[in-house]
């Protein structure tokens, strides 16, 4: 799962300040056709304040259910970032990502070392590496499976 190995996927680009209401239904508020175009393993690259607004989990769950492998944005709203990770989907804040990746590029992401490589041109970009705790949550598939597993191993 996400926390254990690198993530590799194709980029779909979106703009700034997308609130969770417009992300709901797999980005339906921005592109109603997107849900048909996206494939499991794809990566969303967005601008600032991705997922701002409501704490409703409809929006992040729709991305998870569509098989999105990671969200990389200039910035991600706190609730949204924690929710995605708690659902087992890595959300990465990476200033400068908008200029680094283009629609259709292929990215390889390593959460532990905090590196994103653009496979089109070989360029590498850094982001603050994920904490062990966050990687632990992701490797179990999210908070709920993590809690199940941690109790089992403790008892």
């Amino acid at each position: 799962m996400a926390g254990e190995q690198g993530i590799r996927g194709r980029v779909w680009k979106f703009g700034d300040c997308l609130d969770s209401g417009n992300i709901d239904g797999v980005m339906a508020g921005v592109d109603p056709e997107f849900r048909k175009k996206v494939r499991a393993g794809d990566i969303i690259v967005a601008g600032i304040n991705f997922g701002m607004g409501s704490s409703s989990e409809h929006a992040p769950r729709s991305l998870k259910d569509a098989g999105i492998a990671a969200v990389v944005a200039e910035s991600v709203s706190n609730i949204y970032l924690r929710t995605l990770i708690n659902l087992g989907l890595p959300a990465i804040e990476c200033p400068g990502i908008s200029g680094f990746a283009e629609q259709g590029d292929e990215l390889e992401i390593d959460l532990k070392s905090g590196k994103i490589q653009n496979l089109r041109n070989g360029q590498v970009k850094n982001f603050p590496p994920f904490s062990e705790h966050a990687i632990g949550l992701l490797s179990k598939g999210g908070l709920i499976p993590y809690l199940r597993a941690s109790t089992r191993s403790a008892s």
Partner: protein
Amino acid sequence: MTLSEKICARAAGLSKIGPGDMITAEVDKLYIKDLRFAKGEDPRGLYGVFKELLNAMGIHKAWDPAKVIINFDEQPARTKKRAEGQLTARKFQEEHGATIYQGEMGGIGHNVMVERGHVRPGEFIVGADSHSCTYGALGCFSTGIGFTETVGVLATGKIWLKIPQTMRLLLTGKPPPWIWGKDIVLRIMAELGPNGAVNKSIEFGGEAVKDISIESRLCICNMAVEMVALNAVFPPDEKTVEYVKQVGDGNFAAVHSDPDAGYESSRVFDLSEMEPFVATPGLPCNGQPISGARGTKIDQAFIGTCSNARIEDLRVAAKILKGRQVRAGVRMVITPASYGAYFQAREEGLLEIFQKAKAMVTVPECGLCVRPSLAAGEVCLSSGNRNFSGRMGDREAKIYLASPASVAAGAVAGEIVDPRELL
């Protein structure tokens, strides 16, 4: 350490923390809105997911029912799903224990939390709704959490959190009368820009704070999530202590920032020459002095939401509407934020003023902020906190955000005007 860092450190059982640290904090209080119990975000519903988790963990009870507060934000429920959610919340209460506010004890959860004394300085509070950041007005750390995280807190009492940098926003100068919390926060947001406080902790300070009412502070902190901040806090002062003692048992331990606390940045906002502010459609940070939007025709005027429909807001609306009429062709809807505010307004004769002015007064609930009421092309002037496209109905409708004074003045004029013109 800053005020927020100190509260987080205490909640995590650590003596010192700083920006970037990952902590596991034990929460003092968990707020849950009834909608979270409806089968929506997860087909099993919150209680279903929670029960499955408890079974897997081999435990039988929620972590601490005395710390769980549930509120019914919509009463009576308008959909079957929501009605089932409320029934499930009551079942949860029977089986695990929790405090539920419903009927005439309720209103909008955030206002109920504050007015019923559940929010105290120094506490670490999380709420299953994004506007749980409101409580920081009383000197506590509070932030909103999602569905999955709520299940986790119910089971373990803990959440993980990355400690952010703290921004200090200093308010100086004497704010003129007719400048309210909403005007101040819309201006701050406009000056900071859309990326100005993302995932930061905000701490207010400065000599003007003492002149800002608790209700205006609640409105300012309510908008912290619109700044995409993690939390916002007003250091507790005499006003805070007086308010908290009035609504609760007065049992709390106030926390203050250390004199050598580390702030990422500091900004000063001089309030002395301020004009009322309005945010134009799209983003809450689209604020500008109200003169710039003057003359914009409106179809709907809405005073409501957890942002601005407290008694202070209803009083100023009544002051403007007294002896006046809502302009023909404009729908004005006034939804007090809680039954506390509603009953107080009734006692003071405000509801009668609203009705004589031909405004529609509804029962306290989230109301039009979460229920579509706008058709394509319509314009709403709202005291709420969100003006995203599609938030209140059709995506082609437009939402302007302003203080209740400006909304009331706009309702009378049929267009956006400076509320000082109706003094």
